[in-house]
């Protein structure tokens, strides 16, 4: 299997799992196990290369034009991580099958688990760091789904949200760091980045880049002060904790440290940041773990502490420290996963995780107890177990680095203290749970779990023992390969032996074991001390306060910008747009006026322009009289059409003309239901600021237009002009662009039009708006709703108008016209019928289903586009030919015409849908039969009339 396929398999598996889980509960578990095995089987044949010292890099070309490939990489480190993910994943799949209760959805659980597995594999096997980041974020998302698996529990939801917030924020920082890193290295490929270590470390942007990358790694690996999300994520089902929160996801952060080790490590910044944070986390986690009463809480803090240990090792930065770091990463994954599983069994069998209640379980489950005790001993660092070996290497490294300086004893002392606490909390785990009296208030009698539930724990504990007793025979080969992957070079000489003679490290181990035992014996005053100060140490309240402050800030900002007032919001938005637009010109010495020769002004154009200017200014000055303003706006639209025709755009002129007619009718229909006048509400200062902003915006637009219009330019028009006839079979280039060259855009646009029509239909559904009995001046409406003259004329004109529409449609490919224009003309002609003859009369004669018409149009356009696929051409390729018709003569038909027909149908359908349904509410809403009032709603709706007083005064 290729690497991309290896990563893809779990993702496909996630879908399959959901699908088979409908057939039966256990199918999901079998499928998840099968998928994991398949992925493992796909990966193993590739493992030869790293063992032979090679790095496998495989690419799938994605967007080669901008250099974006999906790039995957398999070296020793990636291999080790992938094996951990898949190996422990397999055990977790088996374990969870027995852990989940009858009412839990297996499909959802295993789908989330596989999703997570795929994302983790993506992190382990990515060559491109941006791609790595995408998988990184996917692990955050899938872990959110897994932590909140029991959605009905509030702690699960809160824990999931907190984990997502913290790791998601870290992911954002990491994105910034990766962008900087890619910028510094000149490539987003790991191979290039790992080879450019010296250049990266010497770069002035090294420090900010490092800080951002470390933020990502520290949040993910629950390092101080971001550690608090991990204990809160313990609300997850225990298999999730065993998998995500011990073996894999939280290791992603230290994986990243290991991955970028050759590129970033070796500077004082790295040593102090990584080492310092690691040391604090190590100590803090070990200390707090001792006082947790929740079984999983203890394990969570212990995990934090061990992650701090690994981080500290990478911070130390020597090759041997890297060996110890990778070794401890493996060991921690095995003993901690088995401990979580044991904790899950205990929780499962007793119904509680409170160590003050679950005592003396040895008598009920000696077998599980043995396994858990061996695993905790490994956690404590007892000899003959794997934890001892890596911890001793760790102790040796701290002594090695500390030796030269005068305060050098501090570091070994601190880590020994952490070792003391580690032994103490491991002892507490063993003593409190399995001994220490009798269980208190359990609801059920515990007993050993099902046989197969213990198998994953047995395997992991066996590994702890095997590695601890014979490290050279078991873990050495993969460790060496992984370290070679970390260092991108040969691993240093190291000796995985149980006995190294009497060394300082051995002394520290002994002190930790003895001191841990003594600390546990004397724990009572310590507990009392911790309980007194616990509230001061908790990070969660701080996080909550921070989050509250963030929300308050966002709220305040929104209120400041918006304030619940559209006017204010628009003002700020337009002002911001203006200022940003202006900012681009500051400091740019280019003159406003360009070198393009200008056209002379002629009298007709000037007259038209003056008309437009007068109409526009009039519309603004008289905008309180809405009908007048609407008429003036219509005039502006008509002159706009003239402008189009003047400057060689006949298609635009026709479209503008038709749209203008339809728009004015539409606004007239709507105006009937609205107050006829606008009251004066703005205060003079507001008014002044609005005028200022309007003048500034207008001035800016005019200056910009002037600057562009007077400059010569390069255009891509040549291509369209040259290919319109030979390629698209039409002489009207604008139409050919619409239906052929850029047919895809047009398809999108008619879809928008159709959606707008349907949206309006939905808005108007069951809308009840009584119209006024009188107009604004208090005059009654004309009783003759459908004057005979208008009705007769309209009926006479209909065939002519339709004929004109057909004419415009047919010639559209070669002369001004086309589907858009023909559709608008048809719609206008039909709307006139509704206006002149009434809705009922017209509806009886045109019983069309307009929704179907719109749908049909979209279907026609889409099918025409798809038809080209059937002939092996790209979507929306058009063809054309010439046919001889009897009588008519030669006629040209292009497939684009069918597409244009679709456009036509959508335009007709959507326009009519909008206008007719607006007209229908006239029909359904008879004029209010109340006292004469310019505002019927305030009266008929029972609202007090005073609001309108102002308006009435103004009307006088």
């Amino acid at each position: 299997m290729s690497l991309p396929l290896v990563v893809l398999t779990p993702f496909i598996g996630a879908i399959l799992v959901v699908w088979v889980s409908r057939q039966g509960r256990l199918h999901a578990a079998w499928m998840a196990g099968g998928i994991t095995l398949l992925t493992l089987a796909g990966l193993l044949p590739l493992a030869d290369a790293p063992f032979a010292g090679q790095t496998v890099i495989q690419r799938v070309s994605w967007i080669p034009a901008v250099g974006l490939d999906l790039a995957f990489r398999l070296d020793g480190l990636g291999l080790l991580f992938a094996l951990l993910i898949l190996g422990i994943g397999l055990l977790v799949v088996l374990y969870a099958r027995y852990y989940l209760a009858e009412q839990d959805s297996m499909g959802r659980f295993y789908a989330g688990l596989l999703l997570f597995m795929g994302a983790m594999l993506g992190i382990a096997l990515s060559e491109n760091i941006i791609q790595l980041l995408i998988f990184w974020e996917l692990t955050s998302l899938s872990s959110f789904l897994l932590i909140s698996y029991w959605q009905h529990r509030e702690d699960a939801r809160n824990g999931a949200r907190m984990a997502l917030t913290v790791t998601g924020a870290g992911g954002l920082a990491l994105l910034g760091g990766f962008l900087l890193l890619g910028h510094i290295a000149g490539s987003y490929d790991l191979s290039a980045i790992l080879a450019a270590g010296d250049r990266i470390r010497a770069h002035p942007l090294y420090a900010p880049m490092l800080a951002l990358v470390l933020l990502g790694a520290f949040t993910k690996s629950a390092q101080f002060p971001f550690h608090f999300w991990l204990p809160n994520a313990m609300a997850a089902p225990t298999p999730v904790s065993a998998y995500l929160h011990s073996a894999t996801m939280v290791k992603a952060g230290v994986f990243l440290l290991a991955r970028l080790f050759p590129a970033l490590a070796g500077t004082p910044e790295w040593s102090w940041l990584v080492g310092g944070v690691g040391l604090i986390t190590l100590l803090w986690g070990a200390f707090v773990a001792l006082f947790q009463h929740d079984l999983k809480g203890l394990l969570a803090y212990s995990t934090i502490s061990h992650l701090g240990l690994i981080t500290l090792l990478f911070g130390i930065g020597t090759p041997l420290a890297a060996v110890a770091g990778v070794f401890h990463l493996i060991n921690h994954a095995t003993f901690k996963a088995s401990l979580f599983m044991a904790a899950g069994i205990i929780d499962h069998e007793t119904g509680s995780r409170d160590m003050r209640r679950i005592n003396g379980l040895w008598q009920f489950m000696p077998y599980t107890g043995t396994l858990a005790i061996v695993a905790s001993a490994a956690m404590a660092g007892v000899p003959l177990l794997n934890g001892f070996l890596s911890k001793e290497m760790f102790f040796a490294e701290t002594v090695g680095i500390a030796a030269p300086s005068r305060l050098g004893w501090l570091l070994p002392a601190a880590v020994t203290l952490a070792g003391v606490f580690a032994v103490a909390y491991s002892l507490r785990f063993i003593h409190d749970v399995f001994f220490n009296g009798e269980p208190i208030g359990l609801t059920k009698t515990p007993h050993e779990p099902p046989r197969w539930m213990k198998v994953p724990v047995e395997i992991l504990v066996a590994l702890c023992l095997l590695v601890g007793i014979a490290p050279a025979l078991t873990v050495e080969p993969i460790l060496a390969v992984a370290v070679a992957g970390v260092l991108q070079g040969p691993p240093p000489d190291h000796d995985l032996a149980i006995w190294h003679g009497f060394s300082p490290a051995l002394g520290m181990s002994v002190i930790a074991l003895v001191g841990g035992g003594l600390t546990y014996l004397g724990r009572k005053p310590l507990f009392a001390f911790y309980e007194r100060h616990e509230h001061r140490l908790a990070a969660k309240p701080l996080y909550d306060r921070l989050l509250d402050a963030l929300f308050a800030l966002a709220g305040a900002l929104t209120r400041w910008l918006d304030g619940g007032s559209l006017q204010r919001l628009l003002f700020v938005t337009i002002l911001a747009a203006l200022l940003l637009g202006l900012a681009g010109f500051v400091g740019a010495p280019a003159p406003l006026t360009g070198a393009r020769p200008r056209l002379p002004v002629d009298g007709v154009s000037l007259l038209a322009a003056l008309t437009l200017i007068a109409a526009a200014i009039g519309a603004v000055l008289l905008h309180r009289q809405r009908l007048v303003a609407l008429m003036l706006a219509g005039a502006v639209g008509l002159v706009t059409a003239l402008i189009f025709i003047r400057f060689s755009a006949p298609d635009l002129a026709l479209t503008q003309l038709a749209v203008e007619v339809v728009t004015v009718v539409l606004l007239l229909l709507a105006l009937y239901f609205l107050p006829q006048r606008t009251p004066a509400e703005s205060t003079p200062p507001q008014q002044a600021s609005h005028i200022l902003l309007a003048v500034a915006a207008g001035g800016g637009a005019a200056a910009l237009a002037w600057a562009v219009l007077t400059r010569p330019y390069e255009t891509i028009a040549g291509y369209f002009l040259a290919h319109s006839v030979p390629g698209g079979g039409g002489a009207n280039v604008v139409n050919v662009i619409l239906v052929d060259f850029r047919g895809y855009d047009t398809l999108g646009e008619i879809t928008v039009l159709a959606l707008a029509g349907l949206g309006i239909y939905a808005l108007l559904d069951r809308l009840y708006l009584p119209g006024p009995k009188q107009d604004a001046e208090g005059r009654a409406w004309d009783p003759d709703l459908h004057p005979a003259l208008l009705a007769t004329l309209a009926r006479l004109l209909l065939p002519l108008a339709l004929l004109a529409a057909i004419f415009l449609f047919l010639r559209g490919h070669n002369l001004p016209g086309g589907g858009f224009i023909a559709g608008l003309v048809t719609a206008a002609a039909l709307i006139v019928q509704y206006l002149a003859n009434g809705v009922a009369w017209t509806h009886a004669r045109l019983p069309w289903n307009l929704h179907a018409l719109v749908g049909l149009g979209l279907l026609a356009a889409t099918l025409t586009g798809l038809a080209s696929l059937a002939f092996g051409y790209p979507l929306l390729t058009s063809t054309f030919g010439h046919w001889r018709w009897p009588v008519v003569g030669e006629i040209e038909l292009a497939s684009a015409m069918a597409f244009d027909l679709g456009v036509y149908l959508v335009v007709v359908g959507a326009t009519l849908l909008i206008l007719i349904h607006l007209g229908l509410i006239h029909h359904a809403s008879p004029p209010a039969d109340t006292v004469p009032s310019p505002d019927p709603l305030t009266v008929s709706g029972g609202h007090p009339a005073p609001p309108k007083r102002q308006e009435q005064e103004e009307a006088r």
Partner: protein, 109 residues
Amino acid sequence: MEALMALIIGLLTGCGVYLVLRARTFPVVLGLTFLSYAVNLFLFAMGRLTIGQPPVIAAQAAGYADPVPQALVLTAIVIGFAMTAFVIVLALKARAELGNDHVDGKQEP
């Protein structure tokens, strides 16, 4: 001619901005229509001004106006109509639901 065009675009923008800043829905819709005119003309002007040379291929044509902005503006006009229609119906709906036509849906004090 260019100056006239720039003036018109500027004027329509200014009118549009002033009207969308009003407190009632109908003037705001009118303002949006004005802004649509301005934007359409502005986009159209990106192809510069040409007289008497429509982009329709003909043997005796001396030259052609740029068809690309024209195609863009043609669909923009139609979409602009759809937008105006949607906004005005929204205004009607707001009036029916809230009993007034203030843009913030509140009764004047």
